[in-house]
């Protein structure tokens, strides 16, 4: 009853023409920002912050939130078309999305990304509306040992991301973990692997490595064999550029998986959309009947992570609005915006400002519909990018990569790093090392180290803290189970061979 009342309240706020307009402005800017690699929602929101001082707060929060979830829609575009991840959350989308594009299915991949985003984005808002307060309390029971277990579970997925050789995948993951350790030790403020370079004090940016290894590595490898770099097939006709009925059926589970995993990880202040997208991809692959085809352009491999990074937005707003606790860069700046407008975000925010909360919730339903309508027609348009001949496409990818990296930090040093990691990506391709485990290790390394050391500081060095807490124990057991999957399949293969003989 209370929820219906709230919704009615929210409808009155969100459907004021001015607020509808702000919602559209937000999701439109978000889409653009998402498509451009590098430039992310935090920078965009920060730039627009001064403008919002003269706005009605409801309109302002509706617009800024629109940028936040709108950017998640656009993020997959360059991942699929160019193997250049638009945001850190769409790195996983590169794995199967780009392979689909190579097979002439770019349209289907872009389309399913938009549809999965819509489904999961809507589920995320539903979760925010229905279970925010109890879930926020649950999220508080997560502390360092649970985060360590969650990251371990994520890292265990490495065995699923491996290509032909588990050993090579593990080595690549180790390299990722090592890169994550570069920078200032968070506990003792000692510099690690900085080689006296100021720029390395704060570590190596995740997106620089991802763009280098995926996009630049791909470009370099393709330049080597000009005969392979022919025009990509882009089918004619609108119908062939959209996901088919069969595609949608294949993605049934991915929609649910992405929505649930994304939302739950989002509610954890130490989670984040990158981890959410990796976890849902891993889960999708683990339960899939065509597991071995993942990485060659399977549509569920795009739908699951794209869904997860969208419902993560709804999840991340849970601790922000119910407790005043931001979990990521974007929610931190939304919090700052609320303070600057004169609100006091915290546990009493929703009961004291129901119009703002419900207005935002309703506007997010509206915004997700707007985004679907905005993004689907763009699919055939973007798919045409691949008609560009190779001699123009590769320099274009190179340019997009460099602009993307430079816009993150504005530092020329990061461009040098980009080149270094481009070479690393090229060598890994030549030597048949998979790139995804490296990215996974890098994405999880820093958080995992921190969580482990925090846990051990809490328990005064007693490792049993990791298994004596129920949530953490369950996740560690799951991780162990996943790590055993390759052993089982080896055993199975051996058994079959024995039977044949």
């Amino acid at each position: 009853m209370e929820i219906l009342q709230g919704l009615w309240h929210g409808l009155l706020v969100a459907f004021v023409p001015a607020n509808l307009l702000w919602c559209f402005v937000g999701v439109f800017l978000g889409t653009v920002v998402g498509i451009l690699p590098g430039l992310g929602p935090p920078a965009t929101i920060a730039m627009l912050l001064p403008l919002t001082f003269s706005m009605n707060p409801a309109g302002a929060i509706i617009m800024l939130a629109g940028i936040y979830y709108g950017a998640k829609y656009g993020g997959s575009t360059t991942s699929i078309l160019m193997n250049v991840p638009g945001e850190s959350a769409s790195v996983v989308t590169c794995i199967d999305g780009y392979q689909m594009a190579l097979k002439g299915r770019a349209g289907a991949a872009l389309g399913i990304a938009a549809i999965a985003s819509f489904v999961a984005g809507t589920v995320g808002v539903l979760g925010l509306m229905l279970v925010a307060p109890p879930l926020a309390r649950f999220a508080l029971s997560f502390s360092s040992p649970e985060y360590f277990a969650l990251m371990t579970l994520g890292l265990a997925l490495v065995v699923l991301l491996a290509g032909r050789s588990i050993v090579k995948a593990l080595l690549a993951a180790l390299l990722g973990l090592w890169i994550a350790s570069v920078g200032t030790d968070p506990f003792s403020t000692t510099s690690r692997f900085t080689f006296g370079r100021l720029e390395l004090l704060s570590g190596i940016d995740f997106i620089v490595v991802a763009i280098g290894v995926f996009a630049l590595g791909e470009v370099l490898a393709n330049m080597e064999s000009p005969e392979a770099a022919q025009l990509l097939r882009v089918p004619k006709g609108l119908r062939n550029l959209m996901p088919t009925w069969q595609d949608l059926k294949d993605c049934r589970f991915a929609f649910v998986n992405g929505s649930v995993i994304g939302f739950l990880v989002g509610t954890l202040p130490g989670g984040g959309s990158t981890i959410a997208s990796f976890l849902s991809y891993g889960l999708e692959k683990a339960v899939s009947r065509r597991r071995e085809q993942f990485g060659t352009g399977v549509i569920e491999g795009v739908a699951a992570p794209e869904g997860a990074n969208n419902s993560e937005t709804g999840g991340a707003l849970v601790p922000l609005l119910t407790l005043g606790i931001p979990g990521s860069g974007t929610t931190a700046i939304l919090l700052a915006a609320l303070v600057l407008w004169g609100f006091k975000p915290g546990p009493l925010f929703i009961p004291e400002h129901p119009d703002l909360f419900w207005g935002l919730v309703v506007s997010m339903y509206v915004g997700n519909v707007m985004l679907l309508v905005l993004n689907l027609p763009l699919v055939p348009l973007f798919a045409q990018v691949l008609r560009t001949p190779a001699y123009a496409l590769y320099p274009l990818i190179l340019g997009v990569s460099m602009v993307g990296v430079y816009s993150v930090s504005g530092s020329a040093f990061d461009l040098m790093l980009l080149l270094v990691f481009g070479l690393v990506g090229y060598l890994m391709r030549k030597l048949d090392y998979p790139a995804a485990p490296l990215i996974l290790g890098l994405a999880l390394g820093a958080g995992m180290e921190r969580a482990l050391r925090q846990s051990l500081m809490m328990s005064q060095g007693d490792l049993s803290i990791l298994v004596s807490r129920p949530i953490s124990a369950v996740m560690l057991a799951l991780a162990a189970l996943i790590l055993m999957i390759p052993l089982f399949s080896k055993f199975n293969a051996w058994r079959l061979r024995a039977l044949e003989q």
Partner: protein
């Protein structure tokens, strides 16, 4: 880069407007870049953006002010950027306590505030010491006694080991002989979540952040890290009043310029800061955030810097952190 694009766009607009910067004294003639060491959304970034809006609304500057984010190296990248801009008349920066501490502990961070041109100190940020509302400690003394009974068992969540949070802990430990553990969490949100989730026992928190959690009954404040009681916490004793005579470590924010700028420029920016701190918008901003007005001019700031780093060095070496400068 986006921010620089806009900066250039605005710069061209402003440059075409009439206005000369000769005569005696200095006046900025094109867009002023305001350098901060955090990314968008960080504390300094938000202050800088609010400041730019105030400068415009209160007509304190003849030109626009644009925020330039130079994140990295715990402020070392932004400080080095300012040092590189030697003699540049249209670049200034916002410094915080991190700018003072990082060069003390990191060999790579070579630029100290003294290698730049200090302009003015703007605010002091007080802090309060808080526990979860259901915790058994009613006063700071209760907590200290509990920590003495069980050395190394109680836990505090906070920032890095050079942050003010840890400095307050070090000072209290030294004064009382109690010992408890300090656990670093990089994000402010995670620190609060660890406290109200019951995973740690105590934290040093900014008053504005604590306010809502206290009102909602999640948190209780034991003492304030401040010289006198804050208006929002009239009943909570300061450290000294609670019986702990330790130096109050201020968290500072202020303005700094590149090295080698003319004296007239220093005076101009000093005057800008003084006029800023007298405006209605600034007072409201300080009040909303529970900051203290900490205005000091360039000469006073330089003196403050010497005292502060001297004291900091001693505290850090007590804490087992190696200082390099």
């Amino acid at each position: 880069m986006n921010i620089r694009f806009v900066a250039i766009a605005f710069a061209t607009i402003v440059c075409t407007a009439p206005g000369s910067a000769v005569a005696q004294g200095f006046k900025p003639s094109r867009t002023v870049e305001l350098v901060v060491h955090t990314g968008p959304g960080g504390g300094s970034d938000v202050l800088a953006r609010a400041l730019a809006v105030m400068a415009e609304r209160e007509k304190l500057l003849p030109v626009r002010m644009l925020v330039l984010n130079k994140p990295g190296g715990n402020s070392a990248v932004a400080a080095a950027y300012l040092a590189e801009k030697k003699g540049d008349q249209h670049t200034i920066g916002l410094f915080t306590g991190v700018w003072l501490q990082t060069p003390l502990v990191s060999t790579e961070a070579k630029v100290t505030l003294k290698d730049l041109t200090p302009i003015a100190r703007l605010v002091l940020e007080p802090a309060v010491i808080a526990v979860k509302a259901s915790a058994p400690y009613k006063t700071l003394g209760d907590f200290i006694d509990a920590a003495k009974k069980n050395p190394g068992h109680l836990k505090q969540s906070g920032g890095s080991n050079t942050s003010r949070d840890n400095v307050v802990r070090q000072l209290l430990q030294k004064a009382t002989g109690a010992r408890w553990v300090f656990i670093s969490f990089p994000g402010g949100g995670e620190r609060i979540a660890a406290l109200i989730g019951g995973h740690v026992d105590i934290m040093v928190i900014e008053p504005e952040e604590a306010g809502e959690h206290i009102r909602a009954g999640n948190m209780r404040v034991l003492a304030q890290v401040s010289e006198h009681r804050l208006s929002a916490f009239p009943e909570v004793p300061t450290l000294k009043e609670a019986g702990f005579d330790v130096p109050v470590v201020p968290q500072v924010r202020g303005m700094v310029a590149p090295p080698g700028i003319p004296k007239a420029n220093v005076e101009y920016w000093e005057d800008f800061c003084r006029r800023l701190t007298r405006t209605q918008s600034w007072r409201k901003y300080i009040e909303d955030n529970q900051f203290e007005d900490g205005y000091q001019n360039a000469a006073e700031l330089t003196k403050f810097y010497d005292e502060f780093t001297g004291r900091m060095r001693a505290i850090l070496s007590d804490a087992g952190v190696k200082t390099v400068r």
